[in-house]
């Protein structure tokens, strides 16, 4: 098998002592930052970008792999012990896991989350190993018109289909697209929307947008309506561990959660929310103890947590093979690739095979490291939850400043950071989701370039978008994704 040989070569890259060290630093930092309340995996990756700035690309991506999975592991600790999910896909873990913890079963909840994440992450990475090269082979033949249509599909599903309000999601997306327009047009060299500022000729760094909208926006918003009574952190004595009965009840949900999570991550219709909710519903149906659900059922942590991590591996399939991020975290990883002058897509496997396979190999390694870090060290991570809020948020802001300032050593970027922070505050206050804006900033320029390439091939005839059956099929799906949910909602509302 070709994939196996490539993977072995990848392990050769990843298993050098120095790269193992970067992987270890990555998973440790990822868990460390991911555990902090208020920081989801997307922000974890964005905040830690400057740490990798001076590394060679292979080591940097090996470290990213660790940060990515580590951030996910850390999030479940926060959800279980503090009942505060860092992102919507952790809501279920918080729901059942925190109930378990309140009943004195924190150790078992943390263990089933960690082992389930390990199982799901490993199976997901195996699937990625074999699916990605196959898809990359097909993806080389996709015409620019279909690539443009695929990006439209990602736009619509991320902003309109799953959010509470499609309109607000789309406005957020268009805001991101607007930011993406700023700077010099690569094809014609025209400056666009730079307001005469030379600093804007290169466009706005995505890190500034991401950290501003997420970290600074969050800090400002929380400060404006701070909870006076402290949320209670549940004490954890000893390691995360499970009884024989816990194992018996956990292993099937792990596998079922993985089976749900991976495909949902892999299709360009984004999000880990759907598979985690599906997994939860499924486990509740299948359980012999349905009465325990909502009161701390271990299946309700095992299944969704596995689904969450399997989808994190699945997300890497469209990212690596098509250059299409389907979550905010993946969008930041894509931007990190671009910073190194690499364009993820089918050709990446050919042009930078050692990098891609080193990255995939380090996902396996990172998973093992995370298991080893999380079971015995769970009490250490749990202590991080006790950092007083004033010191925690102040620290987040200082790290944000380092990340943004070190890009160009420019104070102008810090002013932009403050502006995006205020916008991020407004988005939380007025219920606009942040993820579509991030996807818009990063994918907008790619969408424009595919759009123009497609039209250049047809000499400007827009019929090119109706000539390839694949393109037409994807565009029809986009249309359906825009129209069907509001229609269903209206019908449901009429029936009530």
């Amino acid at each position: 098998m070709e994939a196996v040989t490539s993977l072995l070569a990848g392990f050769e890259t990843a298993l050098t002592p120095l790269n193992l060290l970067w992987a270890l630093i990555g998973v440790t930092l990822g868990t460390l930052v991911g555990v902090l309340p208020g920081i989801g995996p997307a922000l974890t990756v964005a905040l830690l970008l400057p740490v990798t700035a001076k590394l060679p690309p292979v080591s940097a991506f090996i470290m990213f792999a660790g940060i990515y999975y580590g951030g996910m592991f850390g999030g479940s600790t926060t959800s279980i012990l503090l009942n505060t999910p860092g992102e919507s896909s952790s809501i279920i873990t918080a729901l059942e896991g925190n109930r378990m913890a309140r009943k004195g079963r924190a150790a078992a909840a943390l263990a089933t989350a960690a082992i389930g994440s390990f199982v799901a992450g490993t199976i997901g990475t195996v699937l990625l190993t074999f699916a990605a090269p196959a898809i990359a082979n097909v993806a080389v033949m996709i015409p620019p018109s279909a690539k443009f249509a695929l990006i439209m599909l990602a736009f619509v599903t991320i902003s309109a289909t799953f959010g509470a309000s499609p309109l607000r999601g789309l406005i957020s997306l268009f805001f991101g697209l607007t930011i993406g327009l700023i700077g010099t047009d690569l094809q014609s060299g025209q400056a666009r929307f730079t307001l005469g500022r030379p600093e804007l000729l290169d466009g706005i760094e995505f890190v500034t947008v991401v950290i501003g909208l997420f970290a600074v926006g969050e800090t400002l918003f929380v400060a404006s309506r701070l909870r006076k009574d402290r949320a209670s952190v549940i004490k954890l004595d000893g390691n995360a561990s499970m009884t024989r009965d816990d194992w018996r009840r956990s292993w099937k949900p792990w596998l079922r959660g993985t089976a749900l999570g991976f495909p949902f991550g892999a299709i360009p219709a984004g999000g880990a929310e759907i598979p985690t909710f599906l997994s939860y519903t499924l486990e509740r149906r299948l359980s012999r103890h349905p009465e325990e659900f909502g009161r701390g059922a271990i299946e309700g942590v095992a299944g969704p947590e596995a689904a969450n991590n399997a989808s994190a591996a699945g997300v890497l399939v469209p990212l690596l093979t098509l250059g299409l991020p389907t979550s905010a975290t993946a969008a930041i990883l894509l931007a990190a690739f671009q910073q190194y002058g690499l364009q993820p897509g089918p050709l990446l496997f050919v042009t930078n095979g050692d990098l891609v396979w080193g990255l995939i190999a380090s996902l396996y390694i990172g998973n093992v490291m995370l298991l080893a870090l999380n079971l015995p060290l769970a009490p250490v991570w749990a202590r991080l939850l006790l950092i007083p809020r004033p010191f925690l948020y102040a620290g987040i802001l200082v790290f944000s400043t380092v990340g943004v300032y070190s890009l160009n050593n420019s104070v102008f970027d810090l002013v932009l950071l403050a502006i995006f922070g205020v916008i991020g505050y407004g988005m939380r206050r007025f219920d606009f989701p942040v993820t579509p804006a991030i996807i818009g900033v990063i994918l907008g320029p790619v969408a424009e370039s595919q759009f123009r390439t497609a039209l250049q091939q047809s000499n400007g005839n827009p019929a090119i978008f109706l000539q390839s059956p694949l393109t037409v099929f994807i565009l029809l799906t986009v249309l359906a994704a825009l129209i069907v949910p509001p229609v269903l909602k209206a019908r449901a509302a009429r029936r009530v």
Partner: protein, 178 residues
């Protein structure tokens, strides 16, 4: 925003999403989106046509600006019909708390002041100032302790990033000492 004289808002009724009446802040946001679309359109029309290009640099911005205008109009209609946004519920927020805009203002002020002093006084002092203002806004009142932690965090960050990771951060007045 919130003076001590303002009486507390009574608890929200059972069906919070269907509160009647026009929300002025929501309307301003909706009109802001329309305004952004209009400004974008005006900016788009000032982009020169590309030469020798089938699709010039204007086409995509045109789509984005018209889209923004349309979405803004839809949101305006939605707000005029009584729609209003529910503020997000975050981990450390209290949804029933009276929003207090002085705290974010304090953070923002501290941040901009710190940013302005970053070059002349150096990274350590600039970010320590930012750290202090956030900590203070989040209710930490033991000022000497907060100042000490702020300086320590800034110093450690500076050393780790410049020595350990090779980034360049401005030393400012501590040049030579660090």
């Amino acid at each position: 925003m919130s003076d001590s004289t303002v009486p507390p808002i009574p608890p929200a009724p059972a069906a919070p999403s269907a509160r009647p009446g026009l929300s002025v802040p929501d309307l301003l946001v909706a009109l802001g989106v329309v305004l952004l679309g209009a400004l974008l359109l005006a900016g788009t029309l000032r982009i020169p046509f590309g030469i020798n290009a089938v699709v010039g640099p204007r086409v995509f911005p045109l789509i984005v600006s018209v889209g923004t205008l349309l979405l803004g109009a839809l949101l305006t209609v939605n707000v005029l019909r009584g729609g209003r946004a529910e503020p997000a519920a975050e981990e450390d927020t209290d949804p029933d708390a009276q929003p207090d805009l002085r705290q974010p203002g304090l953070i923002l002020g501290g941040f901009l002041l710190g940013a302005a002093l970053l070059q002349p006084l150096g990274f350590v002092i600039g970010t320590a100032l930012m750290y202090f203002s956030v900590g203070f806004a989040f209710g930490e009142r033991r000022a000497p302790l907060l100042a000490g932690v702020a300086l320590a965090v800034a110093l450690v960050t500076y050393v780790v990033f410049t020595r350990g990771l090779g980034l360049t951060l401005p030393p400012g007045i501590l040049k030579g000492v660090l």
